[in-house]
């Protein structure tokens, strides 16, 4: 069929059923509802303006590919299901709507998709059954969100690579899951919601920019390419950025003390032995591996390398390897060992605590005189309090962490299992 055309009719023309075996060319009516096209759609699909201004919507199922543009400039896409692709790599299509896009599902997408600036996209998926499942082209909309859609699918799911440039004029309030690499750019005027995750299965080679906060989780299982940056105003306490392999590009938080959450690097088997190559910038400070900037400068969060977590000497109390005056260190003080990332407070072994006189002698185990605990408000910290013992002056103190005594929780890692923290030794001494 070459054409269904209501031309300049003034009536509201609804195409309720279009059941074909083979291809369909162009369709120009007001509303397209419930088509079941056996072949490709080769021409323009245009949902024309209705007199009186009511919506002209599209809801279409195609057994082949959609090779013509979709002009829904007076309504919404309620559903677009194509067993084949939308457009081709050589001839991408355009998809334009005035209202929301509720659902687009296709094997592969080669399309410039744009909604009005005041509406949203609920769901886009590539299946990758007969193709690589890539999403190429672009997407421009206000929000990725679900407006009371309940159990309906929401978000963006890409079976292959995400090569499209995504622009959200406000925010991302649903998950984005990409099985392959992300080479397109992601530009979000405001936030990634605290309840959502962006997950990239491969490398990230496209710039990412959030005008606001990354409140949820952003996972890159592969490398962050050296040519790009992940920028945001801040990473709040709920925010996590996981770079599974190597961070070769930069992560930039423009707010002063904007690092309240955690960034972890190198938890994937793909990581090299020195996975932190790029810069992490927090306000005016640029930090690198085993940075010494105090917590107050950065915002309370941390950047750590897996599994070489280590402790941040300056954020510990007392500072690692420090010499404390007894007058300023009461013998019932809480010692805090602060790490370069969170530790799992549900799975741990006591760390041996030893002391020896400053005047000389051998180490004595005093572990049983102390207890270990965690502060839910500061998941980096291991707390050590005297019980039957005390931090007596005149001694060196040594806390030895053997690999596996503490673990890095899986929720800040690539993979589903905790990882043992590498061995370290924390020491200080108290002079009378």
């Amino acid at each position: 069929m070459e054409l269904i055309d209501s031309d300049d009719s003034t009536a509201s023309v609804f195409l309720h059923v279009l059941n074909t075996v083979n291809d369909v060319g162009s369709i120009r009516v007001n509303n397209v509802i419930g088509t079941d096209i056996g072949g490709d759609v080769t021409g323009l699909i245009q949902c024309r303006e209705r007199l009186g201004g009511a919506d002209s919507n599209l809801d279409m199922t195609v057994s082949g590919s959609v090779l013509g543009n979709l002009d829904v400039s007076y309504g919404a896409i309620l559903g677009l299901d194509a067993v084949g692709s939308l457009g081709t790599s050589g001839t991408p299509i355009t998809i334009t709507t005035l209202k929301k896009i509720e659902s687009i599902v296709a094997d592969e997408i080669h399309a410039a998709i744009e909604t009005d600036a005041d509406v949203f996209v609920q769901y886009i998926e590539t299946l990758g059954v007969a193709s690589d499942g890539d999403f190429m082209g672009s997407l421009l909309t206000k929000n990725l969100t679900c407006d009371g859609c309940g159990a309906e699918p929401a978000g963006i799911v890409v079976a292959g690579d995400l090569l499209a440039d995504l622009t959200f004029l406000v925010g991302v309030f649903e998950d984005i899951t990409v099985a392959g690499e992300m080479t397109g750019t992601l530009d979000v005027a405001e936030d990634l919601s605290r309840f959502n995750t962006i997950s990239i299965g491969g490398d990230l080679t496209g710039n990412v920019a959030f005008g606001g906060e990354v409140g949820g989780t952003f996972v890159i299982e592969g490398d962050v390419d050296s040519s790009i940056a992940i920028e945001m105003a801040s990473l709040p306490a709920t925010g996590v950025i996981i770079v599974g392999a190597d961070l070769n590009g930069d992560i930039v938080m423009t707010d002063t003390a904007g690092l309240e959450g955690f960034i972890t690097i190198g938890s994937s088997p793909l990581a090299t032995t020195d996975p932190w190559g790029g810069d992490v910038v927090v306000g005016a400070y640029t930090i690198g591996k085993y940075y010494t900037n105090p917590i107050a400068q950065l915002g309370g969060g941390a950047v750590g390398i897996v599994p070489d977590w280590g402790f941040h000497s300056g954020d510990c109390f007392p500072e690692g390897s420090s010499v404390c005056e007894a007058s300023s260190f009461p013998d019932d003080s809480t010692v805090i060992i602060s790490h370069y990332g969170p530790i799992d407070d549900t799975v741990y072994d006591d760390l041996p605590i030893e002391r020896k006189p400053l005047a000389g002698g051998s180490w004595t185990d005093i572990t049983s005189d102390f207890e270990f605990s965690f502060d839910a408000g500061s998941p980096r910290d291991l707390l050590i309090d005297p019980t039957t013992g005390a931090w007596d002056p005149g001694y060196h103190y040594r806390v030895t962490h053997e690999e596996g005594d503490l673990q890095i929780p899986a929720d800040v890692l690539v993979g589903e299992s905790n990882v043992d923290v590498d061995a370290y030794v924390y020491t200080f001494c108290i002079v009378p």
Binding site: I4, S6, D8, A11, V13, L15, V17, N19
Partner: protein, 92 residues
């Protein structure tokens, strides 16, 4: 488009259905509506649907056999009511 000068053969059979060879059009209501089905020289079918009904919706249902090929369906509906189009079956 319907108002073109091409010759259109409209076969109106009774009040509710128009039949022409293997492609048929059913229309509701029968008064104030018209449908024509023409076989082109390439063997495909040309369908034209028209309504002047303003006080109720018009519904056209186009049906064909699995080996029928419809070239196009053109709609002329200069009214202010709804027009519902159904293209059923194994039409190509």
């Amino acid at each position: 488009m319907f108002r073109s000068t091409s010759v259109v053969v409209a076969l109106i059979l009774g009040a509710t259905a128009t039949a022409c060879a293997d492609v048929t059009v059913t229309k509701v209501p029968s008064n104030g509506t018209s449908a024509s089905v023409t076989q082109l020289v390439n063997g495909k079918w040309h369908v034209e649907l028209a309504t002047t009904v303003n006080d109720q919706p018009t519904t056209f249902t186009v049906k064909g056999d699995s080996d029928d090929e419809i070239e196009d369906i053109l709609i002329d509906a200069d009214v202010f009511a709804f027009v519902n189009i159904y293209v059923h079956g194994a039409t190509q």
